[in-house]
């Protein structure tokens, strides 16, 4: 049996957001207060503590010898507890990136008004195993000049402003 226009036409009633907000149909508003305190656990706890010191720390798997960032307490490939902590560099290369014109709420940035597009990327960290990337932002660079495999270095907040957060690194900038 074919699914026809006639069959689907009464299955759903089209509205616009304005019609809903304007009260054409009844609706109920709700803003849930969903607040959490997530325990860091030993691996991410140490990772954040080292970021506060201006260092990036990884963890090594004694079986596959991968140096993993972010650090983790077990190797998800070998399924064994990981071994020693290893400091890696705060430099790396751009694996991939974007030039963003909207924010995380899908709201458009005022690019014409001079706001710089957001340029997050995946940075493969030097000293970690090949392909080990983290998500971070790129800065001090023309968004349209970012390229694949571009060498970059972390730009840290001043020590007194660091809180033990991934944002203790402000962004990664190109190395000259």
């Amino acid at each position: 049996m074919e699914i026809t226009k006639k069959m689907v036409e009464k299955t759903a009633t089209k509205l616009s957001a304005e019609e809903i907000l304007g009260g054409k149909v009844l609706s109920v508003k709700w803003e849930p207060k969903l607040k959490y305190a997530w325990d860091n656990g030993p691996a991410i706890g140490r990772y954040l503590a080292e970021l506060k010191n201006g260092k990036i720390i990884a963890k090594k798997c004694d079986k596959c010898h991968r140096i993993m960032i972010p650090p983790r307490m077990f190797c998800e490939l070998c399924w064994v507890p990981t071994g020693e902590w290893v400091y890696v560099k705060d430099t790396g290369i751009v694996n991939t990136w974007i030039v963003g014109y909207v924010d995380w709420k899908a709201k458009r940035l005022d690019i014409k008004g001079g706001v710089r597009p957001i340029t997050p990327g995946i940075i493969e960290i030097d000293g970690a195993s090949k392909g080990m990337g983290i998500l971070h932002h790129l800065g001090e660079v023309d968004p349209w000049k970012i390229h694949r495999s571009m060498k970059v270095k972390a730009v840290w907040k001043p020590p007194e402003e660091r809180t033990g957060s991934i944002t203790d690194i402000k962004y990664f900038k190109p190395t000259k």
């Binding site: 109920v28 849930p32 969903l34 607040k35 954040l48 033990g164």
Partner: protein, 158 residues
């Protein structure tokens, strides 16, 4: 246990605070449009499945048992019912102690197989009993907005 490292200070591990930043607007739907609009008129509406001989309250567009369409089977079921079960609540939904406890009841609307959850008013907890006849007390007409709160509470029928 090789996985567990000994941390002398739990603050070395710490926690990360965050939230799920969402808000919602729910349309009340096709059956809800009938049910909640009629509350403004001081009426409670259900929907009857003839085949199953069930009257649902609030109104629905379908019978969950036989899947018959009920959109042309809406009916006024009156505003009287009986206490099916009840409790007295001392805390808010956020777990905060209330100044004055409230009585919450499941009320079966007379002549139907449908139920509403609502507050009981104009009665002391000690006097509430299962099977007790109650009626809906509506807000003043000008204050009604097509919400379940257009009914203030149910009170005993004297």
């Amino acid at each position: 246990m090789a996985l567990i490292e000994r941390f002398q200070k739990t603050t070395d591990i710490g926690f990360w605070e965050g939230q799920i930043p969402m808000s919602y607007i729910y349309t009340v739907g096709r059956a809800g449009e009938k049910f909640f609009r009629e509350l403004i008129n001081g009426k409670i509406f259900g929907a009857k499945c003839e085949a199953c001989n069930i009257t649902y309250v609030p109104a629905k567009i379908f019978c969950e048992k036989c899947f018959a369409r009920l959109e042309d089977k809406y009916l006024d079921v009156g505003t009287n019912g009986k206490v099916y079960t009840f409790t007295q609540c001392y805390e808010t939904y956020e777990g905060i102690r209330k100044e004055k406890p409230s009585i919450v009841a499941v009320i079966q609307i007379d002549g139907t197989q449908g139920f509403l959850v609502h507050w009981l008013g104009e009665i002391d907890f000690e006097k509430v009993s299962i099977g007790m006849p109650v009626e809906a007390v509506f807000k003043a007409k000008k204050d009604r907005e097509g919400s379940i709160l257009d009914i203030k509470y149910f009170k005993p029928i004297k």
